[in-house]
């Protein structure tokens, strides 16, 4: 499994995936995408990651791979980069998730929070979700499945093989969400 390693918490994502028993590879260049079975876009700063994607010819390569069916999961900055619309911004995005996100809409760092989140697909107990200067998903298109909601706003969504969440599953020791994503890929590839 590939982890986009341009900037941000990619080491934490790799650690979580390895604990799930998955081999990981850091992706910094287009050719490193060859042969991976899924991709994780980690938290970080979306403008920084976007700048490096552009400067190092990753935008087109990622677009081709995801359009070709590569399963991808974007967390925090990752969901911003996957969104179709970023409210009030023309920054780079890949646009595979039919959602609109508003950056930093939960507030600045002093308003960053953690909360027990019900994710019906994972069952009990609740998932400890850490939101850090998180983007708010303010609109979702008809093809988007909402898997979890916080204060009436979607925080975990899926559109086919493209997944996104506004929080940081890699910052806690709970691996259920990573496993759920990995299981869904495994099932799809069996079919």
């Amino acid at each position: 499994m590939g982890v986009l390693a341009l900037q941000g918490a990619f080491v934490e994502q790799e650690r979580a995936l390895r604990r799930c028993g998955v081999d990981t590879r850091q992706i910094r260049k287009a050719e490193e995408l060859t042969g991976i079975r899924a991709l994780l876009i980690p938290g970080g700063e979306s403008t920084t990651i976007g700048r490096l994607m552009e400067d190092f010819a990753l935008t087109a390569a990622l677009t081709r791979a995801i359009a070709g069916g590569l399963p991808v999961f974007g967390t925090c900055a990752g969901v911003i980069l996957l969104a179709r619309e970023i409210v009030g911004s023309d920054q780079l995005r890949l646009g595979f998730l039919d959602i609109a996100v508003e950056r930093n809409a939960y507030g600045r760092q002093v308003d960053s929070f953690e909360v027990d989140l019900d994710i019906p697909a994972l069952g009990p107990p609740p998932f400890r979700a850490v939101f850090i200067r998180a983007p708010k998903i303010v609109a979702v298109g008809p093809g988007v499945e909402v898997l979890a909601v916080h204060e009436d706003k979607p925080v975990l969504v899926r559109q086919g093989h493209v997944w996104g969440c506004a929080f940081h599953p890699e910052l806690t020791s709970d691996l259920r969400l990573h496993r759920y994503f990995l299981d869904s890929i495994a099932n799809r590839q069996l079919i």
Binding site: Q7, G8, T48, F56, R108, V110, S112, F113, E114
Partner: protein, 294 residues
């Protein structure tokens, strides 16, 4: 119930900054250049360290107007500096909604005995350190992120290298120690035993550790990354250089591709003049910013 200002949340923002470059800026225009170039955060200041050094006198927290204008100009996190021990400047920055506070030796210390009790704040803090004991004392006070002190405003990376190498060596030394030796090491370095034990187990600091103080070129940034830094602060190095945008983009690229000499060679081309450098020996011992704090 949502909880704010927790240790996870404070430390978590630093995790999100990793592999990135935090740039000193003094105006909204500079902040936008930094963001456009790919900075993962900016440090809002009235003067960059090289100018603070040149001006002399007492350096204090920046005017809130400057900080607020910079906060309005960009979407990336905005940090700002307070004087060592000046907890009221920190209260003011927290009230402004700054994303991270740097309790910094670049400003004139307000307390010669005590640093700020950083656990008392919801906003996270970053602090400078020259060695492991100093880093762990700051973490004990509540710092959620550490950076090397280096020697700010010099464009000379030698002190940042010294501090990073020393911290690495001290961590390696702890790795092989038994419990009774860790107690003696904790006493010797003046750090709490629980943190010393944690470092011995983890083989690294329990928080993110950036390099700062004297970084002026893409090669400097990659050097610090190869020595084990989690990310880079560039103070005077960008906006005191001839072509800030180009240099900023190059340092951002060098911080990501720090292990790829071909990329480093490419981004190091045609950057124009770097900031003028300063030999450390030319600074009188009492004038070295790194000696502020304990």
């Amino acid at each position: 119930m949502a909880e704010k200002g927790t240790w996870t949340v404070k430390k978590g923002l630093a995790e999100m900054l990793k592999g990135g470059v935090i740039m000193d800026v003094t105006t909204p225009e500079q902040a936008r250049i930094a963001e456009e170039a790919g900075a993962c955060a900016v440090m809002a200041l009235e003067r960059v360290p090289a100018d603070i050094r040149a001006a002399g006198g007492v350096a204090r927290m920046a005017d809130p107007t400057v900080i607020l204008r910079i906060m309005d100009a960009v979407t990336i996190p905005v940090m700002a500096k307070v004087r060592i021990g000046h907890f009221v400047e920190a209260q003011i920055l927290e009230a402004l909604g700054v994303d991270y506070i740097d309790e910094s030796e670049v400003l004139t210390p307000a307390d010669e005995q005590f640093h700020i009790d950083k656990h008392a704040f919801k906003v996270p803090f970053v602090c400078g350190a020259r060695n492991l004991g100093e880093a762990l004392r700051r973490i004990a006070e509540g710092a959620a992120m550490i950076r090397t002190k280096g020697e700010p405003g010099t464009g000379n990376v030698v002190e940042a290298v010294r501090h990073m190498r020393l911290i690495n060596a001290e961590i390696r030394r702890l790795r092989g120690m038994g419990r009774e030796e860790l107690v003696a090491a904790a006493k010797e370095m003046g750090a709490p035993l629980d943190l010393v034990t944690q470092v011995a187990e983890l083989g690294r600091l329990p928080v993110v550790n950036f390099a700062a103080g004297g970084i002026a070129t893409p090669a400097d940034a990659a050097l610090m990354m190869q020595l084990g830094a989690d990310g880079i602060f560039v103070g005077s190095g960008i906006f005191k250089s001839q072509d800030p945008m180009k240099r900023a983009r190059a340092i951002v690229a060098a911080t990501t591709y720090y292990n790829d000499p071909r990329v480093l060679a490419e981004v190091s081309k045609d950057l124009g003049e770097a900031m003028p450098g300063l030999e450390i020996a030319a600074i009188a011992p009492g004038q070295r910013m790194q000696e502020r704090g304990w």
